[in-house]
């Protein structure tokens, strides 16, 4: 049976799709061509939704039916291996929720906020084009490949389809990405909480809250997720309200006011402890809470934008597309495409799409809705983040996202500097904004989360509570981001620990024993030390840290996407469906160009603000002359800056090597597949009796 549910009345169907396309084209045109005056956020929303609908209806259908040949007569792993536990045929709407909750995280909220320095238009266009042709395609095809192979993991798939060496290189690459991801996310939290007693108290209060939930669930009412989460939610809200009292108290506020360095050390210690504790006491309950809060807040933001219909104050395109922007350095190409990773295309999704989701697909045709559809939804989250950053006054946006080295540390200095960039702002406006969100200052709160929080507070307080609630909404947004970032940090540390044990187990078998406490602690310590190193380095980096780490994270995430898409392309060739290879090959080539160019520039660019090596050279030269360059205060600190530069450069070189190695492996696999006249891929279920062979 054809699963394409053709409209009952073809003429009507054509009319509807023609209208949607026309509306989308008109909205996009309005967004792109609007100059001089402010534009309403609804135009961006309408344009995005129409693009998603048209792409889903036509492009994903083409991929599903022609390129992949989804076939509902093939039993899926969930059906064949149904065990009621891991493999469960699941309703597509229920599974959509599961998959979306797993792929949506902090990434799509942070990237677009940083990219807003170039104006909203470049980011918006990349989000739309990227998701339609790269991100959603990757998620969909990987889900397909994994489902056809019993729900095997990405690493497994690469090993079996492209060879053992490619498998190990990919495994190593994933670990490196994981480390950078954890460091940069932890840095986002540190940047949001430094010097903020309200925020710090609220986030700290989630620890006893989660433990209480854990105990409740363990001993009082096991399995009552709803009850437990409701209790947790009430306690969270209480935490936000009480946090305000704390921030106003002269005796209590200093107890919760920390510098970035202290917060970083606290986070590192926390990450270690949380990931070795039994999961039920802290990790699991907080995961429940953060998942529901995340979904709820995303819905609230969507409703808020629809009701408030804010105007965007950011210009469509700013002068910073030339690479001189204060938020991150580097020109539009390639750095816009690196900065906005999640939301357009995210390699991490390949791990999810080859994780639990493929084991629950009921019918092959439903992969289209879950793989392609969920990624469109994530892209929409990113568009909303972009809107939230763009409704801010640009002056406020740049004050929040520029390093103190650039704009100074007082409102007066910041206002003067930013006004010379053409974004007129007064010191009063900066202090007023800080006051309205209940903070002492908003200067240099880089990392995306605080900016998003101010934007969200503006939108949500226009929707519920008015300006009196702005401070509450701001801290609600900070809490919401911190909560799920911390969940990622401890869950991610656990995952990194298993990866390290797995990798080291190849050389020292004792390390692979996951039941051994010594091996556990050692691997956890290694994982924490790795991301902790980059986190601390980022915190003390006077250029902001996010500056350095976010591009590294972006490069690594896009690199993983390139790896996943290389696998997709290789499998299409092995299936003898190379006629359709352009579907995955085009985004592969684009991502390879972007990651290699960005990687090359991060290594060798002559501008010390972009290239790690020229930055190191500049500092070495100064050391040789006995000079101390800001931000360093002593020659020792100068040495540390140089070492950090070389470490970052080394990591970038590793990323470049991994991409190149996977490219070679991909080409070799494709050549081998082409030399063989027969289909060379083997899918589980091919040999099932009564199953039609896949038509090439």
């Amino acid at each position: 049976m054809s699963y394409a549910q053709a409209g009952k009345n073809p003429a009507l169907s054509w009319l509807v799709w023609l209208t949607i396309s026309a509306l989308g084209a008109f909205s996009l045109g309005t967004v792109a061509l609007n100059r001089g005056e402010t534009i309403n956020a609804l135009w961006l929303v309408t344009a995005s939704v129409c693009v998603y609908l048209v792409a889903y209806r036509f492009y994903s259908k083409f991929i599903a039916e022609k390129a992949l040949g989804l076939d509902d007569s093939r039993p899926t792993p969930a059906v064949r291996r149904n065990d009621g536990l891991d493999y469960v045929p699941t309703d597509k709407w229920v599974l959509f929720g599961h998959h979306f909750a797993a792929i949506a995280g902090a990434g799509p909220l942070v990237g677009p906020v940083l990219a807003a320095q170039m104006g909203y238009l470049p980011g918006m266009l990349w989000l739309l084009v990227g998701v339609v042709f790269a991100g959603a395609v990757q998620d969909f095809v990987i889900l397909f490949i994994s489902t056809r192979r019993d729900g095997r993991s990405l690493g497994d798939l690469i090993r079996t389809e492209m060879g053992a060496t490619a498998g190990i290189i990919a495994q190593f690459g994933v670990l490196a990405i994981m480390i950078i991801l954890l460091a940069v996310l932890a840095l986002v939290v540190v940047k949001a909480l430094a010097g903020s007693p309200w925020g710090t108290f609220t986030v700290l209060s989630t620890l006893p809250t989660a433990m209480l939930m854990g105990l409740y669930n363990r001993y009082l009412r096991p399995g009552r997720i709803g009850e437990m989460s409701a209790i947790g939610f009430v306690l969270l809200m209480a935490g936000i309200f009480f946090g305000q009292t704390i921030s106003h108290s002269e005796t209590l506020a200093p107890l919760f006011t920390y510098k970035g360095e202290t917060l970083a050390l606290m986070l590192i210690a926390y990450g270690f402890i949380a990931s070795v504790l039994p999961v039920w006491i802290l990790l699991a309950p907080r995961d429940y809470l953060s998942t529901f809060l995340k979904i709820g807040t995303i819905c609230a933001l969507a409703i808020g934008i629809a009701f408030v219909q804010p105007n965007l104050k950011m210009p469509a395109v700013s002068q910073f597309i030339d690479g001189t922007g204060p938020v991150f350095k580097g020109a539009l190409f390639p750095f816009l495409f690196i900065t906005i990773a999640c939301g357009a295309v995210s390699g991490f999704h390949a791990l999810i799409a080859s994780g639990t989701t493929p084991k629950m697909i009921m019918r092959e045709s439903e992969m289209r809705f879950i793989g392609y559809g969920a990624m469109l939804a994530e892209s929409f989250v990113a568009v909303m983040a972009l809107i939230a950053a763009s409704v801010l006054d640009p002056g406020v946006y740049f004050a929040m996202n520029s390093a103190p080295g650039l704009i100074g540390t007082t409102a007066a200095q910041a206002a003067t500097t930013i006004s010379t960039w053409g974004f007129v702002i007064t010191p009063d406006m900066l202090t007023e904004t800080a006051k309205s969100v209940g903070e002492a200052t908003i200067l240099s709160r880089a990392g995306g989360a605080p900016t998003l929080a101010v934007g969200m507070a503006q939108i949500l307080s226009g929707f519920v509570g008015g300006s009196g609630m702005t401070a509450f909404w701001y801290h609600f947004a900070i809490l919401f981001e911190a909560l799920f970032i911390l969940t990622t940090v401890d869950a991610g540390t656990r995952v990194a620990r298993f990866m390290i044990q797995d990798l080291l187990g190849n050389f020292v078998p004792a390390m692979a024993r996951t039941q051994s406490w010594a091996a556990n602690l050692l691997a956890t310590g290694l994982a924490v030390a790795c991301w902790g190193y980059f986190l601390y380095q980022g915190v003390i980096d006077p250029l902001g840290g996010i500056n350095t780490l976010w591009p590294l994270f972006g490069i690594s995430n896009q690199m993983l996407a390139a790896i996943a898409l290389i696998l997709c392309t290789a499998v299409l060739f092995k299936m003898k469906r190379q006629r359709y290879a352009a579907i995955t090959l085009t985004p592969t080539i684009w991502l390879i160009i972007c990651t290699l160019t960005a990687g090359w520039q991060k290594l060798f660019h002559s501008d010390p603000a972009i290239g790690f090596l020229s930055h190191a050279a500049k500092f070495s030269e100064a050391v040789a002359g006995g000079k101390v360059l800001a931000p360093a205060k002593t020659l020792e600190e100068m040495q540390r800056v140089i070492v950090n530069d070389y470490v970052d450069a080394g990591l970038t070189a590793i990323f470049i090597f991994v991409v190149l190695a996977m490219m070679v492996a991909g080409v070799a696999t494709i050549r081998k597949a082409m030399a063989n006249p027969n289909k060379t891929t083997r899918e589980t279920g091919d040999d099932l009796p009564g199953l039609q062979p896949v038509k090439a």
């Binding site: 149904n82 065990d83 009621g84 536990l85 891991d86 469960v88 699941t90 309703d91 709407w93 229920v94 599974l95 929720g97 599961h98 909750a101 797993a102 792929i103 949506a104 995280g105 902090a106 990434g107 993991s153 690493g155 991801l181 996310l185 096991p222 399995g223 997720i225 709803g226 999961v279 039920w280 990790l283 699991a284 995961d287 429940y288 998942t291 529901f292 979904i295 999640c342 995210s346 991490f348 999704h349 791990l351 999810i352 080859s354 994780g355 639990t356 629950m360 969940t487 990622t488 869950a491 991610g492 656990r494 995952v495 298993f498 990866m499 797995d502 996951t514 994270f553 995430n557």
Partner: protein, 75 residues
């Protein structure tokens, strides 16, 4: 069991509520317990299924347990 109000809209609402509960649970990695019990009764009639609590803990450990992809979520 007799159904007191079996109007189609009531049934629809019940089915929706059930699906909603399943969605919320699966978002945090908990598959449907009733489905598991039904599955065990159908396929392994000789086995006693886990109790709801055992099932919950089994799935919780699985989500955050050993393995590269266990408990993994995106950035």
């Amino acid at each position: 069991m007799t159904c007191l109000d079996c109007s189609p809209s009531r049934l629809k609402l019940g089915a929706f509520a059930r699906k909603f509960r399943q969605t919320v649970n699966l978002m945090v990695g908990q598959p449907d317990y009733e489905n598991y019990v039904a599955h065990t009764a159908r396929v392994h009639p000789d086995q006693t299924p886990m109790t709801a609590t055992e099932f919950f803990r089994n799935r919780e450990d699985r989500r955050f347990g050993v393995g590269n992809n266990a408990g993994f979520r995106c950035c």
